[in-house]
Symmetry: D3
Subunit: 297 residues, 6 copies
């Protein structure tokens, strides 16, 4: 029994005449062309595979297989860079520039999801989420002059950048070995050190150690608590700002998505979301209860 996946969902598949030859022909990360028919099985559709063969990846439109942001990736990227241009501090500017000039990284940044499932779990999700947080920061910075705006903006750009190496979205979203063993938080901390070394090499002027410490601190502490994998707790106002704006965007996405994905018109709450430890109420947009009283469960 196997699972067929494309962007519309998943379907159980069954190949009754599986030979070793067929099994070996299945690519580890690639595509299959399958032929067969659906049957009702255990109250759900099942796809009976009569034949299958590998399918060249370059003939495939990836968007058919994996969910993708609905926004224009290049426009989002341009806007994000535009916001980063607000950074006045020269070492921070040079450091961000090193990341942006890394073509492989930039490509990955535009493509990576923000998570496997939690929030923005689709191609382009990392960029969409980061842009949201950057916009929010730009809107709040005038209200909080106590914050070091340069540090906050740079921290936002980098906070989830390690997800480009933590997650793979080649044919489906999954964790890489490095993602599972090291994680995006530490990956980003390492990259900051590497890019800082590049800047020092090129300019002859090292990034001040305090700048590196603070930037790594922002990345390391942005999950807010140890339990969610932050090795350090926020110890500067900018770290709290990053943590709360990051969370706000993630939680708005999660609750909104839960409501949008819900298909049962007869209930006013979604099913239980373990990561929120609650069900989500579906009618906060509409303050007036025009429908008859509906049960929750």
């Amino acid at each position: 029994m196997t699972t067929l996946v494309d962007r519309t969902g998943t379907l159980s598949g069954r190949l009754w005449q599986a030979s070793e030859a067929i099994y070996n022909s299945i690519p580890v990360e690639g595509f299959l062309h399958v032929k067969g028919r659906t049957e009702d099985y255990k109250g759900a559709l099942q796809f009976i595979i009569d034949a299958c063969r590998p399918y060249a990846a370059d003939k495939v439109d990836l968007a058919d297989f994996i969910r993708t942001t609905g926004n224009d990736v290049e426009a989002m990227w341009a806007e994000l860079l535009e916001i980063m241009r607000d950074i006045q501090n020269e070492p921070l500017r040079l450091l961000i520039k090193k990341f942006v000039e890394d073509a492989r990284l930039t490509a990955a940044y535009k493509r990576a999801p923000a998570a496997m499932q939690m929030h923005h779990p689709f191609v382009g999700g990392l960029l969409e989420h980061t842009l949201n947080v950057a916009r929010a920061a730009r809107a709040l910075i005038p209200l909080y002059p106590q914050l070091n705006a340069d540090l906050l903006l740079a921290g936002i750009f980098l906070h989830d950048i390690g997800k480009t190496a933590e997650l793979s979205a080649a044919t489906a979203i999954h964790y890489t070995d490095r993602g599972q063993l090291v994680g995006h938080i530490v990956i980003a901390a390492v990259w900051i050190q590497e890019k800082a070394a590049l800047v020092a090499e090129e300019t002859g002027e090292p990034i001040p150690p305090r700048t590196i410490n603070l930037l790594q601190h922002l990345v390391l502490s942005h999950h807010g608590v140890h339990e969610y994998g932050s090795p350090k707790l926020p110890a500067i106002p900018e770290a709290f700002a990053l943590h709360h704006l990051d969370n706000l965007d993630a939680k708005v996405w999660m609750t909104t998505n839960a409501v949008d994905s819900d298909t049962d018109p007869a209930t006013s709450f979604t099913s239980y979301l373990s990561q929120l430890e609650t069900r989500v109420y579906k009618h906060s947009q509409d303050l007036t209860d025009s429908q008859p009283h509906l049960p929750t469960e």
Copy 2:
């Protein structure tokens, strides 16, 4: 031994000839005029009280005894109401209006601290904090069209309003009996019900039950987790927005205040803050370490 308190700090006092008559003359919530001298005692100053007598409260400038916001209270109040005028939903407008028209409550709102110690612990702190959160919400609302802006704004106005009854700031900040036994979260939930009843009475049109439910939910869930006294966890996007903007403002205040209050130039971290489970770094404003390396402890 007693403790003398005014806005500049506290001082141990000692009255060697305390008689029952003197003791009984001390007002429970009032002011004393004391006469005496300071002595060095155990490495700290101590005030030896030679004589004391009650002092009429109306002759006192309260600002001499209790820390007060540095901002113009009436200007802040006006701006907060101005932001609330963005609310379009009629029942919500009427409900907020009922709170604003309650003169006793309005006076208390302008005067209450936001906490005993945690954040904005001074006269006017509730208003200052609430205005900050309202400004932040107004700045973010255009970025998050998924949010019900009316509900969020009304929730911000009301989220800490129960502190006007939870805390007393007559001569010093302390909890009231009702604050300790019931708490500001439930106090606010009760008031929403009461004001909604007033609206219904006056207009003949009840506030829709769903509106009341959602508004109470915002207040009840705004601490985000049960451990901090929220009887319900956030279950709508607006509740997460309120929770994170509220926290962001509180944490920026706490970290900034910790740095501002620190008086030891020889360290780069403040002392340990138990509520943040960390020390706060004092130099996030200045990315370049121009000083020699300083020890943390």
Copy 3:
């Protein structure tokens, strides 16, 4: 696929020729008359619906659809009121009286379950549970003269009264919107305030604020810990008495029910109960092990 529910249990149903017309004819909270046959499906019975039509609720004996207390509801109600007559404190008497005179509330009190699943999850369960706790309190009050008996008894009467609005037991037990968003604990706190206002209005004598504070405190703290939704922790002896007597009754029900519901004679423990974090031993009534040694799992 749907689920057919009556008091004897649940049964999967399947309607192969579901049309939109049929779907729309299904009442949101009502009853269906179904015609069809059972089939064995996946090792369980399944009901194949050949036809269905709405069934008038007034022709239905609700007791056929929803589990109900085995005790006489009116007798339980009379006994509960009898116990409440022990209350000497006049304001408390008047307050309780206001609740009892509320005919809609009284009807709901007699009918509400005490929970969806945890304990006494059946029609009449709230009353049965509250009466048990009241009886226990009456038995213990002579042993604990330190306790304010009036306060404890009134607190018991009101501690779960919010469940009449938190849960609906129209055709099955489920949470209401208000139950999910606000919860029975805060609902009861609000009602206490409302009924106190009624008393003040009628008698011209307000319920003393301390009485209201203490009564609300009892309700708010009766879950004992924040994690179970209490916004305040017990701070008076009566709150601990209520918490422990409430829990004792719930836990005795849960363990006894787990044993009674167990149908496997070959084991000496029930299956794992997540809310108790343990299996329940089935033979504590019989101290002598007359059977051969039986495995637990």
Copy 4:
């Protein structure tokens, strides 16, 4: 510097001319006769010891040195045994009898405190607390016929009996080595096994293994959660009954004692009790607030 202790409290003592000879003359668990004078030191009284010599323990009235129950110990013991006579099950009766016939243990039972600080921390406290729980159980047993009354009563008699070996109250209350390393819960479980062996030896009839298992289970699980040192969680209704009646008695003592010990008439709450995670409200006995509004802190 040393500490002088008697039942009225503690006092710092200072012996300026301490020689090794004097030091060696001080008994490890015994009494000293000291001669000297008090001085004011650091705002507190200090006793300057001019001379001291050991004092024979048999000339001492222990009650002068250690707090003691206000009740008649023999009367309490008689009543406890009277309640135990309700036990019908023969093996349980024989087992309890073995404990009662152990003269050394009985003497210790009448003398032991129930804790160092938590509740009933005085000579006779174990007996006073156990009797309270037994009385409560006797009052509730008619209301809960589901409970195995014999098992519950025997469990109550034994639940804290290990404290006779966990705590020493020779000249002050402190933990014994065995108390710290093994603890009263396991000490009691061991004793049940030993006394059961004695019964079997004498009667030729072993106590049924299930009886021993259940009795040990009651003792092991009576703290209710692992965090408080219970190696097993309650898995029978009787274990929950024991846990809640035990806690109810302890918490009523703790809150009442906190109020009784409070000496500050100007506050309505006691100081913070870390074991309850709250302050205790001092006026739950008096529902009417006749005093002016008083601050909490």
Copy 5:
């Protein structure tokens, strides 16, 4: 529906013509001879039982039904005793000797599993695990002269000995009543007391109380934290040594077993292990990644 179990795994069985006579003929802890055929059912094999009859336990090779250690049990036992001969302290030697001379216990020790599922869940697992820990201790003792080697070795021998009574491995591994109600930790503490009494009886010389306290402390604290059922936390260096060596052996087994049991060559991580709160990486033995990049999930 029933479950057929032997050492190769489990299989669902179904007996369509179950009569009460057949049901009653099934032994509670015994073996069945079944006749029938397999069918594909819900994508898995199911065994349709046409007939079954009890099968005499003495004709059965138990190794056909229950997983067993791959090592020579007698050789392991001899090596364990050999290590215990390093104990120099006479009372400890006599105490261990009493356990070894208990033939019933020794037989159970050689046979018991170390757990139902966690680690070494097979016949002989207790011995295999204990021997591993004893070997590790013997290797480390020369490096840690601060440790009381005698105490540590005796503690290792006894730390899980209660599992001989906690688990039954007659025909499958399951908890006994005593295991569920009392648990192996307290069972061992009781046995230490009983064997110490035997030594005292025979030699006329009691085991020093401190020796018993320390040995029981080692057993009681070896789970390291209350949450895992230890009523006492480690309070001596030997207790920490036992705890960490015990855990090291268990965790190496669990991770290695997870990798060995994994059958999916297309992933580099095993499925999630709830007891470790992580997936296990399968390639730590092979530092060079010769395969193409494989997805985790």
Copy 6:
């Protein structure tokens, strides 16, 4: 008031005639020569500073000011390198070599403490602790052939190496800014990446990514749980081995040190250690209680 510190302890100092000139003359990290006299103050000695002047650091014997390992540092270092020579895997050998060839790092490794207070908090403590763990691993590796010995040994060498940058022991042990903001765990992960780049540069052969991932995973997960700052939980057997051997050494040091530091002969337990959540028993080395029974507290 200031604090005078040297290796023998701390002493309160007081400078009555402090002028700004004197204050400014005090070096931030340096030494002072003070002149004055001791006085008894609050029951403790106090040093009254009559005069003070900076003292050149190069004239100071640091060992007079800061506690230092009692072992020969060069001998320990040689033995640690000797153990590392067991590593067979070429990339791992080259990587470790890069760390060893870094003269500044090596000097720091020999000097760094292992902690501020927890365990081995003295100059040379990092080396002493790491050597202990390495010895333990070498002793256990033959017993656990499932473990990748090369990976484990390299992980031990590196697990706490970041403490050379986390802590400063110039004149006293304190955290550096980088230690507080980033922490030794992530510092080490960054260094592994940097040294790996150096190896690749020199040899033209990159360290295999899997090797880097696994080594970083060992360092990141060695605290075992998120709460203690590990961003990843152990997911390979070697990570559990490192975690438990590291802890075993730390806990044996902590308990032994607590006993050795205890100066009260009249108690059998040390004072409470918050990091162990218990007192430590002082007599586990001596199984026979030859002293009279002593109180714990």
